[in-house]
Symmetry: C2
Subunit: 337 residues, 2 copies
């Protein structure tokens, strides 16, 4: 298996992508070759600096440009044809690599992948499946930002793709799908979710119905489908809440020495919860629905997060998620002719 890593993607690049690669060289023997895209000299220096070994498993592919956060996704792809993300996607398009991992500009990665790789047969829009920590393991929020103006039939495709992904990658026999809404009662929602609800109930999935915020964490669910605007806003709001709770707790704890001492005794509890809620543990979010495996990492990905994103990429390839998605969508389409 060959996987390409956008070595310039993320807030701390190329340091963290290369740090992640270094970890992956040991942890992920199933990946025979890692491609890195970015300015060759810079990447070579960083590989030397971090004393990365096993150089026969690493190949640098020159990319002179870097997408900046201020670039729009479409502009980035159109105007920076030699950026680290477009060069990386090109390696998947040409078949040289089976998957691409990027922790860079999400809009640029989604746009580059969609335009350059194309969609799987029967898929109208790709969707980002963002893993959330659930008491029963992990629950994917799908779509978390690729398709902010989704239509009801896109949500059905997300449900089908999410079912396939969790069945094949996580071994869920009958993945449970929820629809993000404003109440659990069937009649609640907006025009989009009401239309999607009707379609989802008839789709060949294990549809649980409408779900709400608390279900993300507490209810046995494998996938929650929603439009990309809602998913992105939910994802960022949850992250922000967790962050501010810890910030406020820290401030209150530091206000008195006795509390500080107490917190010190309980610090492992804080660490465990922080880790449980961290994107670092999950690594990356698969962008489902395209002709090629694409994994989107968090902008502030650490080396461990990058390593886990590479692991997620290898799992999607290994379990042949894409052929299974095409089969599921085709079978659904046939039953609706």
């Amino acid at each position: 298996m060959k996987i390409v890593l956008d070595a310039m993607g993320g807030d701390i690049a190329p340091q963290n992508p290369i740090g992640g690669l270094k970890l992956a060289l040991d942890a992920l023997p199933q990946i025979e070759k890692f491609y890195l895209t970015g300015p060759t000299d810079l990447l070579k220096r960083e590989l030397d600096h971090q004393k990365v070994g096993q150089r026969h498993r690493i190949e640098i592919v020159e990319a002179t440009q870097v997408v900046e956060m201020a670039d729009s996704g479409l502009d980035a792809v159109r105007k920076k044809k030699n950026s680290s993300i477009t060069v990386a996607v090109n390696l998947v398009k040409s078949g040289e690599c089976q998957a691409v991992v990027s922790a860079g500009h999400t809009g640029a990665a989604v746009t580059a992948a969609t335009l350059m790789l194309g969609r799987l047969e029967g898929v109208d829009f790709p969707g980002i499946a963002s893993p959330m920590p659930n008491e029963n393991g992990v629950c994917y929020l799908l779509d978390a930002g690729a398709n902010p103006d989704a239509k009801a039939n896109h949500l059905v495709q997300y449900a089908l793709m999410g079912s396939v992904y969790t069945r094949h990658v996580h071994g869920r026999e009958n993945p449970i799908i929820g629809l993000m809404s404003v109440g659990e009662e069937d009649y609640k929602g907006n025009d989009l979710t009401k239309a999607a609800f009707t379609l989802l109930r008839k789709a060949p999935i294990n549809f649980k119905g409408n779900v709400e915020g608390h279900d993300i964490f507490e209810t046995p669910l494998d996938v929650i489908v929603c439009d990309g605007f809602t998913g992105n806003v939910v994802l960022k709001s949850c992250e922000a809440t967790a962050k501010i709770m810890f910030k406020w707790l820290k401030k209150e704890i530091e206000a008195k020495p006795i509390r500080k001492m107490g917190a010190l005794l309980a610090k492992e509890a804080f660490r465990t919860v922080k880790k449980r809620g961290s994107y670092e543990t999950y690594g990356g979010s698969p962008l489902l629905g395209l002709r090629g495996t694409v994994i989107i990492g968090h902008g502030s990905s650490s080396p461990i997060a990058i390593m886990n994103a590479l692991r997620v990429a290898s799992e999607a390839v290994e379990h042949q998620v894409n052929p299974h998605i095409e089969a599921a969508i085709a079978s659904y389409a046939l039953s609706h002719v």
Copy 2:
């Protein structure tokens, strides 16, 4: 000032509404009379049971029906004309009371208030302004659920109403308004927010632009406008995240005696943060845009939350929020003829 309390509204009713009333009798002398709606006998028994005094300031108005969570908002209003919420709203409509407070079925309260009181001149849709704990005080998420299929011009009306509310009730000189979106860059969003962005930039408000999850808590903002679907989902996701963090922390802390001891020493820190994030502190969310003051409480409102909701109601009446909203909307409409 006379305020009516839906004594059957909320998960624990009439106990908590009456508990809240008992606190309010002492804490809110500006309210000369409290009306309670619900079954007279039941409410009398509960008043006696809780030993509520100052009976000359309390008037019970008989309402035989109770809206259940399974009722749809419209059904509740149409079919239960003698429910505690419709009777309560009627007292505002007739002018006997200046404000209504309910912690019951939000959809029923919004529907009853909208249909029975009618909208303020120039307002297309009412919006729920839900207070969120912000490092600079409080930031209102508007709309948090009244209008799940909002149009761009509704979001402008929310911005105008939110400006008026925070200026007059919280004394903000130049309230700062954000637009909930999927990125801070101007071009990001969905079709709705992009259209709203253009209108908001030209509106007579202090518009900060697109904001994201972390801005709710960390950025000096007075109001974040969004459609009611997004607002409701964000509100519930934030609540759910805070709840699960505490639950997981508790579980981890209880796993080892040393951690338990530590947490005991730091318990005041936990309490302070919990309180800071609690809806109880804020009491209720004003439903802005109607001919009458309507305050929506959280379904699981405690007596303190109910008391604070009554306080919020009295403040909205005292500061004449509604006449100011009409003036602001009229002035905006004139400038756009």
